[in-house]
């Protein structure tokens, strides 16, 4: 169930714009933040709020990189694998993360803390190799710096 407060906030935001559907991504993001991912339930609620069909919302949700239609971990790690990060050794970061977290690319750790995903160039080529954790950029990263980052995220949940 969507909390009444969030629902009324979103309803008010939608009422302020000329065309409700221009708010589609904002509404999807807000519901994704609430549920942890953009679930079927969230999709139906977003469609309802925006006056769009669930199909129209799914056309958007399945298109974008940062909208997750399946459950993801509390922290989503996107490793940039485009040209400059690749030249600076993103493959070593991925191998280390897979090893350290015990998952493959695309997987989620058993404790539900981390999901590992690839991402195309994130626009931080001057800080390669770079990754996004919950949309925050980290780079240039060494294996040691990556370990410290994972340790900090883990400690915050223990």
């Amino acid at each position: 169930m969507l909390p009444e407060k969030l629902k009324s906030e979103l309803t008010a935001q939608i009422a302020r714009v000329d065309h409700p559907r221009e708010m589609a991504i904002d509404v999807i993001n807000a519901l994704q933040d609430h549920y942890g991912y953009f679930s079927d339930e969230a999709l139906a609620q977003a469609a309802d709020l925006l006056g769009m069909s669930p199909l129209e919302l799914d056309e958007l949700a399945t298109f974008y990189t940062f909208i997750y239609r399946e459950p993801v971990g509390k922290h989503v790690i996107h490793v940039c694998d485009s040209l400059i990060c690749w030249m600076e050794g993103d493959e070593n970061l991925v191998a280390h993360l897979c090893d350290r977290l015990g998952i493959q690319m695309g997987g989620t750790t058993a404790d539900g803390l981390f999901t590992l995903l690839p991402v195309c160039c994130i626009g931080y080529c001057d800080r390669a190799p770079a990754i996004l954790v919950d949309r925050q950029v980290h780079g240039p990263l060494t294996i040691d710096a990556l370990d410290r980052l994972i340790d900090t995220l883990r400690e915050n949940h223990s």
Binding site: I25, Y64, C121, C125
Partner: protein, 425 residues
């Protein structure tokens, strides 16, 4: 370093914060907007843009003065101005650096561009990875509104203009203007072939002018200092203005540098970026993002402007210079770029959707010792087919592959004949 060349867009850049509204005004900011609203007519703004030969900085290099004039005088209202801050071309981060330095220069540039076409609604379309810039813009738009520089009756005139920030869900194709307009309207962002052009029927069927961040940021300076001043900033007679070059890869100091158009590639690498990393040798670069072709050492001293790159059968693109040294395998690099285009194809048309995975597969086989000489004509044919795709995405995506075969065929053959990558031995 770059101090020897005039700085315009990044003149007051600070290491860790933006130029505030009061600092921007002290440096002459919003003076162009005041003058336009009190002393100049709309046509004068358009004339200055056209005379300044300002070419779009987002990749296509289309003349901004021509684009602005395609909004018809009797076109319906409301009219829209879209600022493209999507910046998803691999290697490109200039707009990110700029937005974290001079948000008010963009706001003023948007207000001026909007005024010239009588647009009342401004939208900044921004990629999700730039959330910190989106927050800065929203805050500074609010501050500007509080000072009467945006909103109703700007600076006491009868002109109203509002700006909102629109966050994308994140896909490369959203940088293409027709796809971006679909995205802004809550539709799946597949591109659309014009006509109608956006300036005729864009957002919600109404006139919409779309420009890149850097293009809009140039406008206050052109209005204030005139077209000739802007043209004189460039080092080559055909070019005009400065350019934000963002350099990455195998150089000592990757970063974003404001330099005159027409500066030599060698000077960018050696003087601004401190030369090649670890004393390596320059092998090639992509001059303007992943959608441009390789420039080899033969072009090491090329003048970096739109015309010179065109003469070299290449493109300046976004000015994202990605540098390779002699240790880099160009087949592997091209495979990485092709992977990018295979993943980011929106899937709307068959040549693009099917062609990139096919090309990726052939390049993967060559890189991994399974290549055959017969692959080369197959790749060339497929690249030609991709020119027949629906939008500019695929022709951009095959630029690196075509230039790989044009400039590095020996290297490709060495992979095929040696049954593996010679750089991994």
């Amino acid at each position: 370093m770059t101090a020897t060349y005039p700085q315009v867009l990044l003149k007051n850049r600070k290491p860790d914060r933006i130029t505030t509204l009061s600092e921007y005004r002290e440096a002459g900011g919003y003076e162009a907007l005041r003058r336009v609203l009190t002393e100049m007519d709309r046509q004068e703004v358009k004339t200055r843009l056209a005379d300044a030969l300002l070419l779009g900085r987002g990749g296509a290099g289309f003349p901004a003065g021509i684009k602005v004039s395609t909004v018809a005088e009797d076109a319906p209202f409301p009219r829209y101005l879209v600022c493209n801050a999507d910046e998803m071309e691999p290697g490109t981060f200039k707009d990110r650096v700029f937005l974290h330095a001079e948000p008010h220069m963009l706001i003023e540039g948007m207000a001026l561009a909007a005024y010239s076409i009588r647009a009342s609604h401004g939208i900044i379309f921004i990629r999700p990875e730039y959330e910190s810039a989106a927050k800065i813009l929203e805050r500074e738009i609010g501050i500007a509104r509080g000072e009467g520089l945006l909103g109703e009756r700007i600076l006491g005139s009868d002109y109203d203009f509002e700006i909102v920030v629109h966050r994308s869900g994140g896909r490369y194709i959203c940088g293409e203007v027709t796809a971006q307009l679909n995205a802004l309207q809550g539709r799946r962002p597949n591109p659309k072939q014009p006509p109608p052009y956006a300036t005729d029927k864009g957002l919600w069927g109404l006139p919409t002018l779309a420009n890149n961040v850097e293009t809009l940021a140039c406008i206050p300076h052109i209005v204030k200092n005139g077209a000739q001043w802007f043209k004189d900033l460039a080092l080559t007679p055909e070019a005009a203005g400065t350019k934000l070059f963002c350099v990455s890869g195998k150089v000592n100091r990757p970063g974003c540098y404001e330099l005159p158009l027409g500066i030599k590639l060698s000077e960018i690498i050696e003087t601004c970026c401190g030369g090649m990393k670890d004393g390596a040798t320059f092998k090639a670069c992509l001059p303007g993002g992943a959608s441009t072709g390789y420039l080899t050492a033969d072009h090491y001293h090329i003048e970096m402007d739109f015309d010179s790159l065109k003469k070299a059968r290449n493109r300046l693109g976004t000015g994202a210079v990605m540098v390779f040294d002699h240790h880099c395998c160009m087949v592997a690099a091209t495979l990485n770029l092709t992977e990018f285009f295979a993943r980011e194809s929106c899937g709307w048309c068959t040549p693009c959707r099917e062609g990139f995975p096919y090309l990726r597969d052939l390049l993967w086989r060559i890189e991994n010792g399974q290549g055959e000489a017969g692959f080369i004509p197959m790749i060339k044919t497929m690249c030609r087919h991709l020119w027949k795709s629906y939008c500019a995405f695929a022709p951009g995506g095959v630029a690196s592959i075509e230039s790989l075969l044009m400039n590095f065929e020996d290297e490709v053959m060495a992979h095929i004949e040696g049954k593996g990558c010679p750089f991994k031995k």
